[in-house]
């Protein structure tokens, strides 16, 4: 994202004042906004209705009697099988998986990017190309051998196992991001530090890390949303005790007794999307930079 023009200043045609075209522009944007907001709106209002109201069939209607019961159920007592423990456990599982995975992968990514950018040696380019390709390979290609490998070392179905896999599969993207970031840093900065006699790790810690804060924030955002939203690694490798929210949500939505509790399902859906949503609305501009950086390079 180095040198990318600012996203803040519009460069389009200079607008004329309040023409039909202007009205058209706003109309288009408003209709589009409605399309993007509609599902969120339906989710929220449905989660606040009781089943009687939902059966009436108007998914757009505001709830007549606000009820928080679906939320309480979704958090504490939604069922999958005999276990009616709600989303709470899985929510914390996702936290337990996400925090260490993200910390490790960002740190390793930064170290790798730094090493690849400033300490060139034979084989580095090959490593880099394999990483680049690796960032895109469908997980299905790896699943089966990975089940065997993780089980051989006793990590299958464990928290450390699923964390390790998340770190492994994040490394390509993280390394690419940091390599590109460090690639844009003036070489003089590095050379000056070398002349002063600084070594590999001290240059990293005292020179590079302080200037990488913006990139680290971006990397954190990419990793937190990516890890939180993972389904397949959690499904196959996390094991019964460590199921993340995505896996539990799919179980809850697709398993219920008697009549489907759509309000509970929607509350559970929002709960499992809460972390990325809050992150998105809180970190705003950083988020945009984060996903475009991740997208552009990875």
């Amino acid at each position: 994202m180095s040198g990318a023009p600012s996203i803040i200043v519009p460069r389009g045609r200079r607008p004329q004042r309040l023409s039909m075209a202007r009205v058209g522009i706003y109309l288009f944007l408003l209709i589009s906004a409605a399309f993007f907001l509609l599902p969120l709106y339906v989710m929220v209002v449905t989660s606040l209705k009781d089943m009687g109201e939902i059966r009436l069939g108007n998914i757009f209607a505001l709830p007549q009697h606000l009820t928080a019961a679906p939320w309480v159920t979704a958090w504490g007592s939604a069922c999958q099988g005999l276990n009616c423990d709600g989303m709470a456990g899985a929510f914390w599982n996702s936290v337990k998986i996400t925090v260490p995975s993200v910390a490790l992968s960002v740190l390793l990514g930064a170290i790798n990017g730094y090493a690849l950018s400033f300490w060139r040696f034979r084989g580095a380019e090959f490593l880099f190309v394999v990483l680049l390709v690796g960032a895109f390979i469908p997980l299905q290609v790896f699943i089966y051998p990975l089940v065997r490998i993780t089980s051989a070392v006793g990590l299958f179905g464990t928290l450390p196992g699923v964390i390790l896999l998340h770190v492994c599969f994040s490394l390509p993207l993280m390394t690419l991001l940091f390599r590109n970031f460090y690639g844009a840093i003036p070489l003089e900065l590095f050379k000056a530090a070398r002349v002063d006699g600084a070594r590999f790790w001290s240059i990293f810690l005292y020179v590079m890390l302080p200037v990488s804060v913006p990139m680290i924030v971006v990397a954190l955002l990419i990793q937190i949303t990516g890890t939180w939203n993972d389904f397949i690694l959690g499904l196959v490798f996390a094991g019964n005790d460590n199921r993340p929210v995505t896996v539990l949500l799919n179980n809850v939505v697709n398993s219920q007794f008697g009549e489907k509790q759509y309000n509970v399902n929607m509350a559970a859906t929002i709960l499992s999307a809460l972390v990325p949503l809050v992150l998105y609305f809180v970190s705003g501009r950083w988020f945009v930079r984060g996903i475009t950086a991740g997208a552009l390079k990875g």
Binding site: V129, Q140, F231
Partner: protein, 294 residues
């Protein structure tokens, strides 16, 4: 520089990179090669080394479910990529007209991208529910003749997936292309106005070609997402109705486990890998080989 000194100089870098190198060359390439090798064996529940040549591929290419899975992936992929590009481009252009509340609009268009495919699928499954979702709501509003129960028919289920994933992904394209638009030389507008070229034509013939790198990036990212699509299908349709929304990733997963045919599953996985490599080729060429490493 003598070899030994050079080695000493880069030693910390080598150590720092070693976990990644172990991963890349051990797990990563190892698993890749293993998967390819197994796809040439008769492995069932457990992998074996009874090599059968291309037999698994031959079976795969005559298996109805694999064929329709690939067709769905193609239809889904094209509709999803084109849909995201068109909507993303329009949103970017319209947002770039010095509108008020630009930040708010941008936030609204982008937020679905923060959500997982599982969440996206759960929401849209509810919206497409033929007896309670959009259909009933529209009938209640007096809109008739518009059937939005897309997931109820094998002919339309894929488009249900497409709409849900465009909702999720169009914002990303908007952001990427908006960055591109802001990099367009403002002089273009003065020049075209002097020449009397209409804004629409200017966008189509001058501005959009300038956005080529952003468009290419979007195509590659979305295209690969289309090859990988799995979570969304699991959450929204479970592949149904019938085989109406089966996709290759789901085929591989179900052959791997429930149907206990590792040979056939790894053959499918290998073909998916080839598809991704084909999609990646242009990006690799542009971003790496042509520009050259630093």
């Amino acid at each position: 520089m003598p070899l030994l000194i050079r080695l000493r100089r880069i030693l910390p870098a080598l150590i720092a990179l070693s976990p990644t190198a172990v991963f890349v060359f051990g797990i990563f390439l190892g698993c890749l090669i293993w998967t390819c090798v197994i796809s040439f064996t008769s492995s069932k529940l457990l992998p074996n080394t009874d090599f059968v040549g291309f037999a698994q591929y031959a079976r795969l290419l005559t298996t109805e479910r694999w064929i329709v899975s690939v067709q769905h992936m193609a239809v889904y992929g094209v509709a999803y990529v084109v849909g995201c590009l068109v909507i993303g481009l329009l949103l970017a252009i319209f947002i770039d007209q010095k509108v008020r509340f630009e930040n708010t609009f941008r936030a609204i268009f982008l937020f679905p991208y923060a959500l997982s495919f599982i969440v996206t699928g759960a929401v849209w499954q509810w919206l497409f529910n033929p007896s309670m979702g959009l259909n009933t709501a529209l009938a209640g509003l007096g809109v008739a003749g518009l059937d939005l129960g897309l997931l109820a028919s094998p002919d339309t289920a894929v488009y249900g997936l497409v709409i849900a994933s465009i909702w999720q992904g169009a914002g990303l394209v908007m952001v990427i292309l908006l960055a591109g638009l802001r990099g367009v030389d403002p002089e273009i507008w003065k020049a075209t106005r002097v020449d009397g070229v209409s804004p629409a034509k200017t966008y189509l013939w001058i501005v959009v070609p300038e956005l080529a790198p952003g468009i290419l990036t979007s195509v590659v990212i979305l295209g690969i997402a289309a090859v990988k699509v799995y979570d969304l299908v699991v959450a929204m349709t479970q592949g149904g109705p019938g085989l109406g929304s089966e996709v290759p990733a789901k085929f591989v997963m179900s052959l791997l486990f429930e149907r206990a045919n590792v040979g056939l599953a790894t053959a499918g996985a290998t073909l998916m890998l080839l598809a991704v490599l084909c999609l990646l080729a242009p990006l690799l060429y542009l971003s790496y080989f042509r520009r050259g490493a630093r």
